[in-house]
């Protein structure tokens, strides 16, 4: 395959590659998340005994990373390409390196390093061991072997690769700024750059995230999401009386957990959460994630 010449080509190539390696190719989750890990195809599927291999693009939102489109590499909305395989295959690392070479990154010319970077998500109550992958000094991926999620051991262990798509594309396509990335092929009838599609959105959202978002409403939405999550799982008011004990509607509950997490990020970027409150909010989201993980484990084990 020829070396990719644009952003979308990189995505297509990765999808193809991992589909050949046995992953189901999913689409992005339709809620605002801070990282591809939040997708139920990673978080929930990392629990329980079933095998599972998937790959997907996930748009991510990190409200406080917005720079009004001015920074060459910081965005409040960007894309990750996520690969998960469970149990982690013996040659998972080699597969990853092969994917780089498919993308045109030749290991005999470029210096690829695996630098210790243990992953921990305080909001998901999760951790794993792995590395960040450097290519000529630029961090292009995260590589993790999940050990625990929501306080539960991951057995079998899920292996996770997260490609930072913009960074990777800047490297492969030799661009100094993310906004200059060719989104589709420069040879197409109507070539578009990343900025053509996302610059205006970055400006609008930066304004919203930092200055305009109505924090009173968002605080309320956070409380609501928390309440709903608990209710759905029957932890607070038993909304689901009619349902059998082991059918706890984990997925709808987990949606509320994801929402709470994003709302917290938004409040944080508005600067209305004091450092003291910060830990409290993270703790509240983690409690929801834990409830969902517990319910998921219950559900899976009742199926067997």
């Amino acid at each position: 395959m020829p070396k990719p010449d644009c952003f979308q080509q990189i995505i297509l190539l990765l999808q193809n590659f991992w589909s050949y390696k046995g992953c189901v190719i999913l689409q992005p989750y339709d809620l605002e998340v801070g990282a591809g890990t939040f997708h139920p195809a990673t978080t929930l599927k990392s629990l329980g005994p079933d095998d599972w291999s998937a790959a997907y693009v996930q748009p991510c939102r990190r409200p406080s990373d917005g720079r009004y489109g001015d920074s060459p590499n910081r965005l409040q909305h960007y894309y990750q390409f996520q690969v998960v395989m469970k149990p982690s295959p013996v040659t998972f690392k080699e597969m990853y390196l092969e994917s780089l070479s498919e993308l045109g990154i030749d290991r005999s010319v470029h210096d690829i390093r695996f630098v210790e970077d243990d992953w921990e998500s305080p909001t998901l109550g999760a951790w794993g061991l792995g590395w960040e992958v450097w290519c000529d000094g630029m961090e292009i991926s995260q590589f993790t072997y999940f050990q625990q999620v929501g306080g539960h051991d991951c057995k079998p262990v899920m292996g996770e690769i997260t490609y930072g798509l913009e960074r990777l594309a800047m490297f492969i396509l030799d661009c100094e700024s993310v906004m200059d990335l060719p989104y589709n092929s420069p040879n197409s009838p109507r070539p578009l750059k990343y900025s053509d599609i996302f610059l205006e959105a970055e400006k609008q959202y930066s304004e919203w995230n930092f200055s305009l978002a109505n924090t009173e409403v968002i605080f309320r939405h956070f409380d609501d999401a928390e309440k709903m999550c608990q209710e759905i799982l029957g932890a607070a008011v038993s909304l689901n009386k009619s349902l059998s004990k082991n059918n706890k509607l984990v997925q709808p509950a987990y949606d509320q957990c994801i929402k709470a997490s994003h709302l917290f990020n938004l409040l944080d970027s508005r600067g209305v959460i004091s450092t003291a409150q910060r830990q409290v909010y993270i703790g509240r989201v983690r409690a929801l994630a834990k409830l969902c993980a517990d319910a998921y484990i219950d559900e899976v084990s009742s199926r067997v």
Partner: protein, 685 residues
């Protein structure tokens, strides 16, 4: 005699864990080899990011039939202990033998080790080692949970060379069969190969671009780096820690020299150095011409056809974008300081929490200012100057650049203080009040820096202590041990006359100080012992005195050390022992008390009693004036009469009252001696 090569190939081992792992493997091997009755001439452990292993040369080829004795519980030990021992070794009571040793009588269990081929023994030893190995963090992978390892283990090489013949040593760990082939560098020489001897193994690996020994990789970086730097008029800024990390990220390090783009050199040097080291693991290079950091040494893991040009340009691009970010933050900070001074940041400190029970960083700064003003009275410092400097010491914590590079706290503050027009001394104090950080770090030297450093540290220590945060065992998440050691070092190494008790009282926190004082005494003893003062003397002295003695403690300990090795010191210790032995072997009689009339008292009693009273007085007086030499001299002078007393009178006499008096006297003698130093500590090792 045979040679053995054992190698575990895994996915990348974190750099900082490599050296300890190599040491652990050597220690475990030594232990197991000896336990199994083998001898080995030389052990050569090695580690790279991808492999951990050991070469054993001239290992004994046979394990002869031998007998191994395992010691069990003491004879007369509880039934549970005995049953536990039986269960652990899977044996019956009839297997036990009783045996006398120098430590007492014990049950023993004897195992006969039958003769077996060396390769079986080695397989057993190294299977045990892998399972017993202890990584600081370890993991499972895939769906096999029979081994935790630092990262996925990929292959096991275990080869024995016996009389020129190559033999696989059969191990199977986590379904991985041991092999006789290995691989060299994963990019430059990825194919698996076999080898015919230890030398062959080493040669082929080196040819395949793997340098097994960390120290050899380090030498390569330093030599190559030096050559590159000198050719371009630079020299290397020493950074051992970073160097150790770099050699833990490469199997075959290739230093590359790069120059920092000119437009980035407007940044303060510490920002450039920090960004390069923390984000990119570059070593800094200074220009020989002007002494400035203008280039870097990066270390790649491969050699390429384009002589690493692509790698270098990629790395420079990353450096460029990082430092441009830093320039952006630096400009913001500078503008703010020029416009509003550093105080603008202090307001922002109100929203930065120090600890949930202790308020914000702003509250903390206010406390530090108060302490510093009081403490400054002891020194020749202007109140206003101290108050101004103290109020600015944490301002930089909320500057954009320090938020981005937390390790630049203090040094950026100093930089911005200069921009804001503060005096040199103030700027320096802002920078140095964090000192000393590590135990090899220097302590602040100028008075203002000293006052701020002490105020900052004592506030930190007492505040956390008051809300119950104390170090326990090896856990000290708030680094209170380091903080205390900092205080002690600043006082002692600057020969300051600062009373530690007084310093605690300056903090105005109300709490029971007793255990904090004990903790500080322990820290003082630790520091002095580290400084090679005699441990037992340090303990004997530190226990006994209040914290106000700290400034003169080293002198006092030196005097006492001299005293106890002198004739009169030895005599004093002997008398102390004689008396205390006497008292402890007659505990029962000692408690008896009865009033005694004057005419019962013999002349000997009277002499000793009078002398005790006068020595006590003189000891107290000299201690008051902190004159330890005299106190010791006085103690020495009463030794002879105490000895005479013990020689001439029978302490355990018939007369109850007299006996009671004599015991009381002896006890007082000990107490009096302990006033100067705790003699009983001197005997401890």
């Amino acid at each position: 005699m045979s040679d053995f090569i054992f190698e575990l190939i895994s996915e990348e081992i974190p750099a900082k864990m490599q050296a300890p792992a190599m040491l652990q493997l050597e220690t475990l091997t030594l232990k197991k080899v000896a336990e199994n009755g083998l001898t080995a001439e030389e052990l050569m452990p090695f580690v790279t990011p991808m492999r951990l292993g050991i070469i054993i040369q001239n290992i004994s080829t046979e394990v002869n039939e031998s007998i191994k004795e395992i010691r069990g519980p003491r004879i007369g030990a509880s039934e549970n202990a005995i049953l536990g021992f039986l269960k652990k070794n899977k044996i019956e009571r009839s297997d036990l033998q009783e045996k006398k040793t120098d430590k007492g009588e014990f049950y023993f269990y004897t195992i006969k080790i039958s003769a077996q081929p060396i390769s079986n023994v080695l397989a057993g030893i190294f299977t045990e080692i892998v399972h017993e190995f202890n990584w600081p963090k370890s993991m499972y992978w895939g769906d096999n949970y029979s081994l935790r390892w630092v990262r996925p283990l990929r292959s096991i090489v275990a080869v024995l060379f016996e009389k020129g013949k190559r033999k696989r040593v059969p191990l199977n760990i986590r379904d991985i069969e041991s092999d006789i082939t290995t691989r060299a560098h994963q990019v430059m020489h990825p194919a698996f190969f076999d080898f015919n001897s230890v030398e062959d193994y080493q040669e082929k690996l080196l040819k395949g671009k793997v340098i097994l020994q960390p120290k050899d990789r380090k030498t390569r970086v330093l030599q190559e780096g030096k050559r590159l730097a000198e050719a371009r008029g630079f020299y290397l800024v020493k950074d051992e820690k970073l160097l150790d990390e770099i050699i833990g990220l490469t199997e075959f390090p290739n230093p590359i020299l790069g120059e920092i783009p000119k437009e980035l050199l407007s940044l303060p040097e510490e920002v450039i150095i920090t960004s390069m080291r923390e984000h990119q693991k570059f070593l800094s290079l200074r220009s020989k011409a002007n002494g400035k950091v203008e280039a870097f040494l990066m270390v790649a893991d491969i050699q390429t056809q384009d002589k690493q040009k692509t790698i270098l340009s990629g790395n420079i691009r990353v450096l460029n974008s990082r430092l441009k970010d830093a320039i952006f933050f630096y400009k913001n900070d500078q503008e703010l300081v020029k416009r509003q001074g550093m105080r603008a940041w202090n307001d922002k400190l109100k929203s930065v929490r120090f600890h949930e029970k202790l308020g914000s960083q702003y509250d903390r700064v206010e406390r530090i200012v108060k302490i510093a003003i009081l403490l400054a009275k002891q020194f020749d410092l202007e109140r206003d100057e101290v108050s101004k400097a103290a109020s600015l010491i944490k301002a930089d914590l909320v500057s954009d650049l320090v938020v981005e590079f937390p390790s630049l706290q203090g040094s950026m503050g100093a930089h911005y203080a200069k921009i804001a027009g503060c005096e040199e001394m103030v700027s320096e104090a802002i920078r140095d009040h964090y000192l000393p950080v590590g135990s090899n770090d220097v302590v602040p030297k100028r008075l203002l820096s000293i006052v701020l450093a002490l105020s900052d540290k004592i506030d930190y220590l007492t505040c956390l202590w008051r809300i119950g945060i104390k170090p326990t065992g090896n856990k000290d998440p708030f680094a209170l041990r380091r903080t205390s050691l900092g205080i002690i070092r600043i006082i002692l190494e600057n020969k300051l006359n600062v009373d530690l008790d007084y310093l605690i009282d300056l903090t105005e926190v109300n709490f029971d100080k007793t255990d904090l004082q004990l903790f500080l005494k322990e820290r003082i003893a630790y520091y002095l012992t580290e400084k090679n003062y005699q441990k037992n003397v340090v303990k004997a002295v530190v226990q006994q005195y209040k914290l106000d003695l700290l400034p003169i403690l080293p002198r006092v300990i030196a005097e006492i050390t001299e005293f106890i090795s002198s004739e009169s010191g030895k005599k004093a210790l002997a008398v102390y022992k004689r008396v205390s032995n006497f008292l402890s072997s007659n505990k029962k009689l000692f408690s008896y008390e009865e009033k005694i009339s004057k005419d019962h008292i013999t002349e000997e009693d009277q002499i000793v009693q009078e002398q005790l009273i006068s020595t006590k007085e003189r000891v107290e007086r000299s201690l008051q004036s902190k004159d330890f030499n005299t106190a010791l001299f006085v103690l020495g002078s009463m030794v002879d009469s105490v000895n005479q007393f013990l020689d001439n009178v029978q302490v355990n006499c018939e007369d109850n009252a007299l006996r009671s008096l004599r015991y009381a006297l002896l006890n007082e003698i000990l107490q009096n001696m302990d006033r100067v130093l705790v003699f009983s500590e001197l005997d401890k090792k």
